[in-house]
Amino acid sequence: MKAKIFASIAVVITGAILLYAVIDFPDFGDPGSPPNAGVPGGAPAASRYYIQNTYRDSKVPNLVTAVLADYRGYDTMFETVVILTAGISIFAILRVVRRDDDPSAPEPVASDRTIDGDHHRIIVGITCRIAAPLIQIFALYVVAHGHYSPGGGFQGGVMLGASFILLALSGSLRETLARFSERDYTRLAFVGILIYAGLGLLPMWVGRNFLDYGALSGLFMTKGEEMARSHSMLGVEIGVAITVMSIMFAMFANLSTRGRLQGGL
């Protein structure tokens, strides 16, 4: 009870200070506000440059993808590394590997729910089995079409991971792990980062800056540097999607089984 009273006092004081500060904030939807137009008398906001020049620089109509993968590519690369690190930490915290475990031994009956073993799950299981490939195809579309419509690597990767989680939830984790094993997703998580960093390192080969995709026009056999940027962004997004997919499924598999990767929900 005491904690609640003190918490209420702290929250009311903090909220009052924040609400007082809000009065000086720009109006909602104001195109001339500092984040949208820049500080008065100073340089114009970077977002104005992005909107005006993205199509000239990289022939990508989706400004968000262009800023994510090209202008702020360094930031996005390390955001992906953060996700990989989160996956590694979950592995380090939870994963239980026992050497005496026999992988061919039958699982505990209570938690071993296969579609065949549990008749109540037939409709759900089969529906989700049909839905999962459709979800994956749509996720691939979201990744590949991220230049031209809302989408990209993070969104598509989360959808791909969700399709595996759906399979594990509706069927059994064991069946899903037979198709997408721990070895696979651990490797793929690193492969995604390597695709990103590798595409970033390639321009350094010819003496350009890290992540300066324009230098890759020879590799992608494009006429100008703009299309090389566009193609490199697709490659980078694929790398992000692979890492996000693997880590999302790894997180689910470890959290739902307390690191044993057996039984599951």
Binding site: A7, V11, T14, P31, A45, V82, I247, M251
Partner: protein, 148 residues
């Protein structure tokens, strides 16, 4: 009172909502005893920040930050006739600010990943102490130290 609403509240109503959401999250982080409820509060807090950033990029009468095909066609015509550095035909006020969208896009996914780490930690706490109530965990830690 009405003048206060006209000048302070209505143009900034979004920020008022975020402050309220943020304080709900902060309150549950401080006051709740259960660790999972604290995590839920942390997620609510994070949602307020995400909404704050995205709302900073909103422009009145602007559309999503994807250049429309009609504008692209016009842009191609102007860039074909003049040199590459010619004045762009794309008006910045026509599209929402893409920068906050980019920042929050990555922040959402990283938030999910860090939430997973937090859930893993709470699972280990439950495994070791048999409870998720903060005061009981603290009591058990104290008892452990007294035994040593």
């Amino acid at each position: 009172m009405q003048a206060f609403f006209q000048e302070a509240v209505i143009p900034h109503f979004n920020f008022w909502i975020y402050v309220v959401i943020m304080m709900i999250g902060l309150w549950s982080v401080i006051a709740k005893n259960n660790l999972v409820k604290k995590l839920i509060g942390l997620s609510i807090f994070q949602t307020a920040i995400l909404l704050l950033y995205v709302s900073l990029g909103v422009k009145e009468d602007a559309t999503i930050p994807v250049v429309e095909s009609g504008v692209l066609a016009a842009y191609k015509e102007t860039s074909a006739t003049t040199d590459k550095k010619a004045a762009p035909a794309i008006h910045p006020d026509r599209y929402a600010n893409p920068t906050p969208h980019v920042l929050m896009l990555t922040a959402i996914v990283v938030g999910v990943a860090t939430l997973g780490v937090a859930l893993a930690l709470t699972q280990m706490i439950y495994k070791d102490f048999g409870t998720l109530e903060e005061d009981e965990v603290l009591q058990k830690i104290k008892a452990l130290h007294e035994d040593v």
